[in-house]
Symmetry: C2
Subunit: 205 residues, 2 copies
Amino acid sequence: MSRGSLFIVSGPSGTGKGTVCSELIKCENIFLSISATTRNMRVGEKEGVTYFYTTEEKFKKMISDGQMLEYASYNGNYYGTPKKAVEDMLEAGKNVILEIEVQGALKVKEKMPEAILIFVVPPSIAELKKRLIYRGREDRDEIKRRIGEASREFSQLPKYNYVVVNDELQRCVNEVLDIINATNEKQRIIERLLNELKESVNYDD
Amino acid sequence: MSRGSLFIVSGPSGTGKGTVCSELIKCENIFLSISATTRNMRVGEKEGVTYFYTTEEKFKKMISDGQMLEYASYNGNYYGTPKKAVEDMLEAGKNVILEIEVQGALKVKEKMPEAILIFVVPPSIAELKKRLIYRGREDRDEIKRRIGEASREFSQLPKYNYVVVNDELQRCVNEVLDIINATNEKQRIIERLLNELKESVNYDD
């Protein structure tokens, strides 16, 4: 069995990247990364399923020990991606999807350069505005703020491995699946050649 | 016209990456990067075509000024990739191919993270050995050395964007052309969205 690969999905709010990820994890061998958090468990949530729940003290120790691929605080609580949880899934041959914003994505890429960065974009900026309005964010200032945010995120696009346009959900999901399959194929080729090299050295034929 | 993209092609000797690159530059809008060197011009060579010829003093100044994407010395002469020459070609919308070994490739990637790293591999290690022998490198120690070198290079494979198997030349060339086309398409999408964002801010519709 080959090692799985890590895919980081980003994109401005309103591009539908969440829906794309929900579709992806319906497929075989594709799983969402589970974050750690210091916030309290809510009714219906489950340890190790919705989140890994931990204390602020332990969370900060994980940060200082370099065990967090990325983290952020929000409303007084910490949220982050524990490296070990991701590593264990990859080792088990699973493909892992991490849906995070651009700053976090680039931090993970620094620590795991083999991670594949995928940026989901809307077909056009006009369409992005339409979707934000449709989602009930009709406040003109709020939409302007989000477009400004999108603008800053877009400036990091060249650092992403792939840009996929979410024009039609299933087509977009298929494009990401093609990326996942091509990455897995690359991984198989690497592992096969490294094995052949090892044997070649062992037997010196 | 969209900005061109930079493609760095590496791979162990014997994989035929040179032949792949020769085929690529026969295609429209794909050009080899031209290196700078301190060695003397030979008969039949041309300034700005085979190399940019320069003095050791000027070459070293370019290094200290950060104007070299990567460089190496060989047989007492310096060889390197001048950043400006690459930038000018990209600005002019040209796709640039840089055929260099792994260490240099990773240095360029640090300075230009948008560069696409392509690793050309043989279909198998047995086939690689066969090709090295066929190329007249029958010396057992030399082949062992080259396999060892390939082994070290392969360990950097996860940092490459793409791994292409050179099993059949034209199929391999087509696969690289697909990568180039997909990258150009990504670039067009980025530029279009950034333009739309700019207009959106200007007109604030």
